[in-house]
């Protein structure tokens, strides 16, 4: 009677037997691979600890003295130490500037770092290529400028943004006119890295290209690019913000531009924006008026206290509290006179935040 798993099952049983063999083999391979990984990790950590112990001293001496960088006896670099050397050198180079950086570059050239980086650039894997590009940047290697320039266009985000940063390090005057127009297209570039790159280049280099890029972009791209506009020169920024506040009616652009207002020149337009349809534009304009508003704007801010959006009410209340010409008694009187409970509540909160309640 033992027919379960028997009738019509012979083929399947055979397949199951083969599957067991395959599963067993795969499990053993994975097991062996895991053990090998573990052994390699432990050996690698030990070797790296030895390497770091020796080379950190070499780097430290080179940073302090040009003579040491040029003449010190270099420790032997084994084949397995090469990636560690590149990583450690890049790490050391990324935390120093000025003469210490120059000395490290001298030391790197003596140690054959450029050749090691070049070899990694020809690998298929992305990680060695990133390390190579980073090295060229830190070496300020003008000979590799064109190679790095080409990699800025690479599809891989990490490689492409690393190349962009490296290009700025190698030749910022050459890099910025190329990179700034790319920012709106390369939305995959992490914004914090773009910000670092622009800061590295300096406001004097980026102001003009950024102004042009923003003024020629459509509304969507303008909003995106304005996130980086705080890095441009203050005068250029002021002109840019005023242009945008005057010429644009796109809520996204207005919102982004209002966040950058620093001067007083656009106050009438900002006051008018407290009536805008988009709540976040009303909110931003209230916030700005809290910083640069005058007595004539108080009624506009007061009108926002019963806005249907909480954030508008909140920013308006904070703005009123921040106005320099209103004393505590005036503020309390204003709160007590509010007929709208939302307005009274939000003023109460804003007062409590500054210890006025």
């Amino acid at each position: 009677m033992d027919w379960l798993f028997r009738s019509d099952f012979d083929g399947i049983t055979t397949a199951a037997l083969w599957s067991i063999a395959a599963v067993l083999a795969t499990t053993l391979i994975l097991f062996a691979y895991t053990i090998a990984l573990r052994v390699a990790t432990i050996l690698g950590q030990r070797r790296r600890a030895r390497f770091i112990g020796i080379w950190r001293n070499v780097f430290a001496n080179a940073m302090l003295s040009k003579d040491a960088a040029e003449n010190c006896v270099l420790p032997r670099i084994g084949a397995s130490d090469r990636t560690d050397l590149l990583e450690e050198w890049n790490h050391a180079r990324s935390i120093v500037e000025g003469s210490a950086a120059d000395n490290l570059i001298v030391l790197a050239r003596r140690a054959g770092v450029p050749a090691l980086a070049l070899k990694r650039l020809n690998k298929r894997r992305i990680r060695p290529q990133i390390l190579a590009v980073q090295t060229f940047g830190h070496l300020r290697d003008r000979e590799r400028r064109e190679i790095v320039r080409r990699l800025v266009d690479h599809d891989n985000t990490a490689l492409s943004i690393t190349a962009a940063v490296a290009l700025v390090e190698i030749d910022a005057d050459f890099a910025i006119p190329i990179i700034v127009p790319m920012i709106e297209k390369r939305r995959d570039w992490p914004k914090n890295r773009v910000s670092i790159l622009l800061r590295m280049a300096g406001s004097e280099r980026i102001s003009e290209p950024m102004y042009r890029a923003i003024r020629s972009a459509d509304d969507r791209n303008t909003t995106y690019l304005l996130q980086f506009a705080q890095l441009v020169d203050a005068e250029v920024l002021d002109a840019l913000v005023n242009d945008l506040l005057r010429s644009s009616n796109d809520p996204g652009v207005l919102n982004a531009a209002l966040k950058l207002v620093s001067g007083f020149s656009g106050v009438p337009r900002i006051a008018a924006l407290t009536q805008h349809n988009a709540w976040f534009v009303r909110m931003q304009s209230a916030k700005v008026l809290g910083r640069i508003g005058q007595e004539e704007h108080l009624s506009l801010l007061e009108a926002l206290l019963d806005d249907r959006e909480w954030w508008v009410r909140y920013r308006a209340a904070q703005a009123i509290t921040a106005l320099p010409f209103l004393g505590p008694n005036h503020l309390r009187q204003m709160r007590d006179e509010q007929t709208d409970p939302y307005a009274a509540d939000i003023l109460q909160q804003a007062f409590a935040e500054v210890g006025l309640a």
Binding site: M1, D2, W3, L4, F5, R6, S7, D8, F9, I12, T13, A16, L17, S19, I20, V23, L24, T26, T27, L30, F31, Y33, T34, I35, L37, R38, T41, N90, H91, S94, R125, I126, R127, I130, Q134, T157, A158, T162, V165, R187, D188, P190, K191, N192, R193, S195, I196, Q227, Q230, W310, R313, Y314, Y342, D345, I346, Q348, Q349, A352, A357
Partner: protein, 477 residues
């Protein structure tokens, strides 16, 4: 139809289920392995130059707490030391009957604050909001007990001020750089609406000042099995679904959400048993209905450590609740199942969860009973049955081995050979007893869902490694 016909048909059903679930898991494994490899390649590079900039998105961390008096101060102190440039911490005291609120008020010098509260997502009445005079980024919301973590989380969402909201369990131990890691998908892709991270088991680890000091394995067998289970669940369970935007669950212990999308979706459902999964399904539903591109994604980094149940009673309660929650969450969002434009969620992930995760326990338990009955009746051809049994166990071991390999490849949190050996031992042993037991419990959860049960705050017996800061909860090595 004869008895023999019924039994023979049954064996084909079990075989089809067996092949389906294992092929599914193996495919997830392959996708996860590539996903983790790609993730590590870029993450490591970014890490080398990671600096905070003004473009990092501010985060509101919401910590729902109910009777957490023993650990709340340590937890809050640790969460106030997270490495992130701009975040606020909102502790929601959900009508605790112990002195959770009093301890917070005393330790952080909290003062009642007249905040203009707005209820954007539903929750029980808020009694008051307190602001710390010592920590400017700490507030406490005191509310009437709403009976669930979801209700408390919603109160936190209502007072959150920043664009991203991170909901964290009060007894979770966070990695200091957890926020920096989970925010990355938002920086890389602005259409991201939710991100989950890997949750690990903290039993056996040494926790000091609310931070993980030393990673070790627990001595308790049940906790040890859950270590391997969590490796499987997160390293290939979640990582396997994320690349196809088919992630259906973000652990309630740690999740980061785009606040406005969360509010638009209605926040957490206070009536849901598995509120974390129900929310993610609702987010999928909302975004599909809006026909907007979106990402619900997962970072494999271990960002959060949580205490696993160590007694059979607590473990059973947890598994029954999870299964109940799964059934309820899928039922509440059933329109996703029939959404022709639902993409990978509707066409792949939900069918897989329905067949293998939700109704799987029926097939599994029926299979065990089937074998027992057939064995008693003398109907089994033992050599052939042994082959299938061996294959089932072998595949179970293979999946665990693969998860351990992914862990070694990526984060190698268990650095000692003895720990590795123990994990492999568990990968084998868990197939005998533990799996069968959890299948029975999951079936009970399914039955509870059919009957419609009610859910309350879960109170597990904790190993109290947060309260007792220096004493490790019994590491084995």
């Amino acid at each position: 139809m004869t008895l023999q016909d019924i039994v023979l048909s049954g064996q084909w059903v079990f075989l089809a289920y067996f092949v389906g679930i294992n092929v599914g898991y193996l495919l997830q494994n392959v996708v996860a392995a590539f996903g983790i490899r790609r993730y590590l390649q870029t993450a490591e590079q970014y890490e080398a130059e990671s600096v905070f900039s003004s473009l990092d998105i501010p985060i509101s961390v919401v910590v729902p707490a109910f009777n957490e008096s023993a650990s709340i101060i340590t937890s809050v102190k640790a969460m106030l030391q997270l490495e992130y440039p701009q975040y606020e911490l909102i502790v929601v005291n959900d009508g605790s009957t112990d002195d959770t609120l009093e301890k917070l008020v005393e330790e952080f010098r909290m003062q009642a604050f007249p905040e203009a509260y707005r209820a954007r997502v539903p929750c029980a009445e808020v009694r008051g909001i307190y602001k710390s005079t010592r920590q400017s980024n700490l507030r406490v919301v005191d509310k009437v007990n709403g009976g669930s973590k979801a209700d408390a989380s919603n109160a936190g969402i209502n007072v959150a001020r920043y664009p991203l909201v991170c909901v964290v369990d009060a007894d979770s131990v966070l990695q200091p750089d957890a926020l920096r890691r989970v925010v990355q998908p938002y920086l890389e892709n602005p259409t991201t609406v939710a991100v989950g991270g890997t949750v690990r088991i903290s039993n056996g680890c040494t926790v000091r000042q609310g931070f993980l000091e030393k990673v070790a394995l627990p001595s308790n067998y049940l906790a040890l099995v859950q270590v391997v289970e969590y490796l499987r669940a997160f390293l290939f369970g979640r990582m396997g679904w994320s690349p196809i935007n088919g992630l259906l669950i973000i652990s309630g212990a740690f999740g980061l959400f785009h606040k406005e999308t969360l509010v638009e979706a209605g926040g957490y459902n206070p009536d849901a048993v598995g509120e974390d999964m129900e929310l993610v399904l609702r987010l999928h539903r909302l975004m599909k209905a809006k026909r907007q591109p979106y990402r619900i994604t997962f970072v494999p980094d271990p960002v959060c450590w949580t205490d696993a149940p160590t007694s059979l009673r607590d473990l059973k309660s947890q598994r029954v609740r999870w299964q109940h929650g799964l059934g309820q969450a899928l039922a509440l969002n059933k329109s996703l199942i029939t959404n022709a434009r639902g993409g990978a969620v509707s066409w792949v992930a939900i069918p897989f969860y329905l067949v293998f995760e939700l109704f799987g326990p029926i097939v599994e338990v029926a299979g065990y009973l089937f074998i027992i009955i057939c064995a008693l009746m003398g109907w089994i051809a033992w050599p052939q049955a042994g082959i299938f049994l061996g294959l089932a166990i072998g595949l179970g071991i293979l999946l665990s081995t693969s998860a351990i390999m992914l862990e070694e490849l990526s984060f190698h949190m268990y650095p000692r050979f003895r720990q590795l050996a123990l994990l492999y031992l568990i990968a084998i042993v868990e197939n005998f007893g533990f799996r069968q037991l959890t299948a029975f419990w999951r079936l009970q959860g399914l039955i509870r869902w059919f009957r419609g049960g009610k859910h309350k705050w879960e109170t597990l017996t904790r190993s109290a490694n947060l309260a007792d800061e220096t004493k490790p909860a019994g590491p084995v090595n």
